[in-house]
């Protein structure tokens, strides 16, 4: 029998142990922060990890397992606090505490790899709406050989299961009497096997291969896509309108969640599943159709689209194609809130996508877009002009007419571009109106657009413009544009006007007349028709020296440059 007095704890050893534990925890916290800041291949990252592992190794060799009791904001070793953090952010103790871990222990033999993976788990920030593995589950899944956790167990386990009944004596007697027959017992004595109730199935290699394939396929399965497919099927087979509505609500919530996460592809899949029901024969009844309509309306509601903007502006990874796919599913009622996206989406490509969808959705509801053309924000109006242009038609041009007087030149420029691309005949009048715009850039754009339009209706106004006193004040480049527009109209009347300016002569305002001659020569060359070129040839060989010079320069293609050079000098 050991008669020695029991060993008393050595206070020096204890205090050394606590000091070492404190330092170790301090290093642990620092390392946890560092590994989050630096990439794994960074030397700082690696140095911190190596240092921490060495400290752990020293501690575990010197004092054995490190057992950390967990309080809400602290770690304790042997009842002594060795780490405390009052903040709930970035607090390792709190993270463990809220997940129900009451003790963490690191045992001798801990490897650096375990430590790295443990730090990864502690540092992981999971989206609670996406992954439901808490810290305990993550630690459990990893099954560290040298790190253990004690978890608070708050589930009752007693008194729930029924007690099994004792077998009754008479029943057992009956069992023995009825079931045992000497003949039967003798029949199976010896090595002979009795007939088996079932057969075991040794799987063939081919069957094992098939099972492995299925297991691999399961790993690749897009679970969310399958869930959406499942909800789609459930909607199709649901016979009760109320339950149908509940399913649509679930779909709506999922869409909201996917949008928040920036997963527009999934949101679009949900919306597609629901919108398919509009054409589904089994869902023709008004009770179902009404609910589908309500659902789609909710998707296009301002607050829903606002959430879409927030996600899109926040996450760079969202593909514009998915935005298009999603918006295309929205009903015309969503046109007004969709136009708001033009004011809130940061990405130019995204706004372009919205415009394209609006053009498609509003094709038969053009008035819904037109109503927004009076918006105070010029940039929205500019985008909507593009949308109207994409829709096209005289009705669109009519709606655009008031914008000729819009205060913002960028809006008017967009208007010219749009009118230029539209085929409706009433757009010529608007372009002619824009020839009087106060912005030279707009006027030039309008001139070019008119030129491309080759409209006879442009000849008289352009000619009148040249005749006007104000024409003299215009820059030469603009004058050339006017003549070019006249020439581009390709009309016989234009030819006659240009011929008149080419040949015209007067001693009065001679320099002006000369400039107009050169402009006309330049325009005739631009016109390029046999008649126009013949006129220039004729002039180049004529007696009038100034006509000759203008025609020769035009024919050589140098008229414009010479004029501009002269104007500059």
């Amino acid at each position: 029998m050991d008669t020695r007095p029991p060993l008393q704890p050595d206070p020096d050893v204890d205090s050394q142990k606590l000091k070492a534990a404190r330092e170790l925890l301090l290093q642990f916290v620092k390392t946890a922060k560092t590994v989050r800041l630096y990439l794994a291949n960074n030397p700082v990252h690696q140095k911190f990890l190596t240092d921490l592992f060495e400290r752990f190794d020293l501690y575990l060799r010197a004092y054995g397992a490190l057992r950390l009791k967990i309080k809400q904001q602290a770690f304790l070793v042997d009842g002594q606090m060795i780490y405390e953090n009052e903040s709930r952010q970035d607090n390792l103790a709190f993270r463990c505490y809220v997940d129900g871990i009451s003790e963490l222990a690191f045992h001798e033999g801990l490897t650096q790899r375990e430590l790295v993976e443990f730090l990864d788990i502690m540092g992981s920030e999971q989206d609670p709406a996406l992954a439901d593995d808490d810290l305990v589950s993550l630690l459990w899944k990893r099954d560290f050989p040298h790190i253990s956790a004690v978890v608070v167990d708050d589930l009752p386990d007693a008194g729930i299961l029924p007690e099994a009944a004792q077998p009754k004596e008479e029943k057992l007697e009956e069992l023995v009497k009825r079931e045992t027959a000497a003949v039967e017992l003798a029949a199976v004595a010896g090595p002979k096997r009795p007939e088996m109730p079932l057969t075991v199935y040794k799987l063939t290699d081919e069957e094992i291969g098939r099972l492995k394939e299925q297991l691999a396929k399961e790993q690749q399965r897009d679970a969310v896509a399958q869930l959406l497919d499942m909800l789609g099927v459930m909607l199709e087979i649901e016979e009760d309108p109320v339950s149908f509505g509940e399913l649509l609500d679930i779909m709506g919530n999922l869409i909201g969640l996917f949008i928040e996460r920036g997963d527009l592809a999934k949101a679009a899949s949900c919306a597609e599943a629901a919108s398919r029901l509009c054409d589904h024969s089994a869902k023709n009844a008004p009770a179902f159709q009404g609910r589908v309509r309500e659902f789609l309306l909710r998707l296009g509601a301002p607050e829903s689209l606002q959430a879409l903007t927030v996600a899109f502006n926040r996450l760079k990874s969202i593909e514009v194609d998915q935005l298009t796919r999603y918006l295309q599913l929205l009903p015309p009622d969503a046109i007004a809130p969709m136009t708001e996206l033009l004011g809130t989406l940061n990405s130019l490509q995204a706004r372009k996508a919205v415009c394209d969808v609006l053009a498609q959705t509003a094709r038969d509801k053009i008035e819904l877009v037109a109503g927004r053309l009076r918006d105070d924000r010029w940039y929205i109006v500019r985008n909507l002009i593009y949308v109207m242009g994409r829709i096209g038609g005289p009705k669109a041009a009519d709606y655009l007419a008031p914008l000729v007087r819009h205060s913002e030149p960028r809006v008017r420029k967009e208007l010219v571009k749009t009118l230029d691309a539209m085929e409706a005949s009433n757009t010529v009048e608007l372009l002619l109106d824009l020839l009087r715009d106060r912005d030279g850039g707009v006027r030039v754009m309008a001139l070019r657009a008119l030129g491309r339009r080759k409209s006879a209706r442009a000849v008289a106004p352009l000619t009148a413009m040249i005749e006007e006193r104000q024409f003299r004040e215009k820059a030469l480049s603009e004058k050339l544009e006017v003549f070019a527009a006249l020439a581009a109209s390709g009309q016989a009347e234009s030819m006659a006007v240009l011929a008149r300016y080419l040949r015209g002569g007067s001693w009065w305002r001679r320099a002006e007349r000369e400039q107009l001659r050169w402009c006309a020569a330049y325009a005739l060359k631009q016109m390029g028709t046999p008649e126009a070129l013949a006129l220039l040839e004729e002039g180049s060989q004529g007696r009038n020296r100034s006509v000759q010079e203008a025609c020769l320069a035009a024919l050589r293609g140098t008229a414009r440059d010479l004029m501009l050079k002269q104007a500059r000098s």
Binding site: G109, L203, E218
Partner: protein, 480 residues
């Protein structure tokens, strides 16, 4: 060898043990001079040296029908099952419980060891001593063997069953409580917390990976008042057993367990009176009950959102009555790609339902009758491959089966034989002795054979199975 075994190394270890089995089979047919021997031997040697470089000394241990590399238990899956059980049998045949490969092992020693181990000549109780002598004579000094002590193992088996029964019972009760909590919360529209259930499932996975028999035994428990809860816990266990055999890792087993535990979540939205109706269901009753898969999906997704676990639970809920050929319910308007979870749960669900005496099915099937019934529907209601694996897991005498032995004793199957060739020789607990008296008898392994004159003859053989219900026997008492 350190206990800290990296998962990657463990995989390499599994591959090596698998190769060991392949090599032994080859060595039983071909001698080392044959080219057919060379290729598997070289691979085996290469893998062994690779493992030794990382682990140093390498030891392979046999303990209760499981192989251990060092301290790490090697998990069997569909791929390795046949080879592992073959190796276990070979080790038992030679009475070898431990083989240690030292670092300085030479190639010629290894060849000799393999050939001696593959030899079919030794049998019976002297096998080990003879084998050890042969190794010495052949100069094999860097492979050490230790004897397999079945008697010690038998004692520890009884203790282990006793210990693990308690743990399994606790886990079962907690799972029951977790299901009850969730189902009640659904009924009253409260927030759904699944973390408790997840913890319980995780603890069940831990037990399953150690020894599934105790947990499987508890599936014989019948709680008529709370059939749904009882049933879902059973389905959870059975599905995880099947998942384990498929080679699922801990995380996947836990996910599968959760999906199985809540596969009937939709029933929380159906009246308790209807579910426990003592008479047959009317058409209208069936119409309502058949809505539970859809109700389950709605409930879980509505309350938890599309989290990974909720989605997996929803698959189990939606698909468990669909049937392999989609002939079940809900009736679908188009083809559907069933998930593996759904198919596994479908098998486990049907088996437990058939073997239970729920209110509207008062006469439960015996385990083997249930399996026969299911096999008749293989390829229609059930995935034929999964059903085969399931039958193999449960054995031809599933846990809880009452058997009459040729000794006149009656026993309850406690554990199936891991070796498929001996599937008819499970471990049973004697409940009625030769004189016909009820006893708290021994746990005996029916693959035990006699020695000497009785060599090659089994001590006990199964005569037939007996329906415990017919005699009011509640077999769950042997697992509680």
């Amino acid at each position: 060898m350190t206990a800290a075994i990296d998962q990657e190394l463990l995989q390499k270890g599994k591959a090596w043990v698998n190769q060991c089995s392949i090599l032994l089979r080859t060595a039983q047919i071909h001698d080392p001079s044959n080219v057919a021997f060379e290729q598997p031997f070289e691979l085996f040697q290469q893998q062994l040296y690779g493992l030794q470089r990382q682990w140093g000394e390498l030891s392979l241990r046999l303990e209760r029908d499981a192989l251990f590399l060092g301290e790490a238990k090697l998990k069997m899956d569909i791929d390795t099952y046949a080879n592992f059980t073959y190796l276990i049998d070979e080790m038992k045949r030679h009475h070898v419980g431990l083989i240690t490969f030292h670092g300085s092992l030479r190639s010629d020693e290894l060849v000799k060891f393999v050939c001696l181990f593959a030899s079919q000549e030794r049998k019976g109780e002297w096998a080990f001593g003879e084998f050890e002598q042969q190794l010495k004579r052949a100069g094999v000094v860097n492979v050490a063997v230790e004897e397999y002590r079945k008697d010690q193992e038998k004692e520890s088996l009884e203790e282990m069953i006793k210990d693990r029964k308690g743990m399994a019972k606790q886990a079962y009760a907690k799972a029951f409580a977790a299901v009850s909590e969730v189902m009640n919360n659904v009924k009253v529209g409260q927030t759904l917390h699944l973390y408790r259930a997840r913890r319980v499932v995780q603890s069940m996975v831990d037990q399953l990976l150690q020894d599934e028999a105790a947990l499987v035994g508890l599936t014989t428990l019948r709680c008529h008042d709370e059939y749904t809860h009882n049933h879902t816990v059973n389905v959870c266990i059975l599905a995880m057993v099947l998942g384990q055999r498929l080679g699922y890792d801990r995380g996947m087993l836990s996910d599968l367990g959760m999906a199985a535990l809540f596969h009937d979540l939709g029933k929380a939205s159906i009246s308790h009176d209807l579910l426990n109706k003592p008479t047959d269901f009317t058409e209208e009753d069936w119409r309502i009950v058949r809505r539970h898969p859809v109700l389950g999906v709605k409930t879980i997704i509505k309350l938890k959102g599309p989290t990974e676990s909720a989605i997996k639970i929803s698959f189990g809920a939606f698909e468990h009555h669909l049937n392999y050929d989609l002939s079940g319910y809900p009736r679908l308007p188009r083809p559907w790609d069933l998930t593996l979870f759904g198919r596994v749960i479908g098998v486990a669900d049907c088996y437990d339902a058939l073997t239970s005496s729920r209110v509207y099915n008062r006469v439960p099937y015996s385990p083997e009758k249930a399996l026969k019934f299911m096999l008749a529907k293989s390829g229609k209601a059930f995935d034929p491959l999964l059903l085969k694996v399931f039958v193999n897991c449960l054995g031809i005498y599933p846990v809880g089966t009452v058997v009459l032995l040729d000794t006149g004793e009656f026993g309850v199957v406690m554990k199936v034989n891991a070796n498929l060739d001996k599937a008819d020789r499970p471990t049973v607990k004697i409940i009625v002795d030769e004189q016909g008296h009820a006893v708290d008898g021994d746990i005996v392994e029916l693959d035990e054979q006699g020695q000497g004159e009785k060599a090659g003859r089994y001590f006990r053989n199964i005569v037939k199975t007996v329906d415990p219900q017919a005699y009011g026997l509640d077999v769950s008492r042997y697992f509680l």
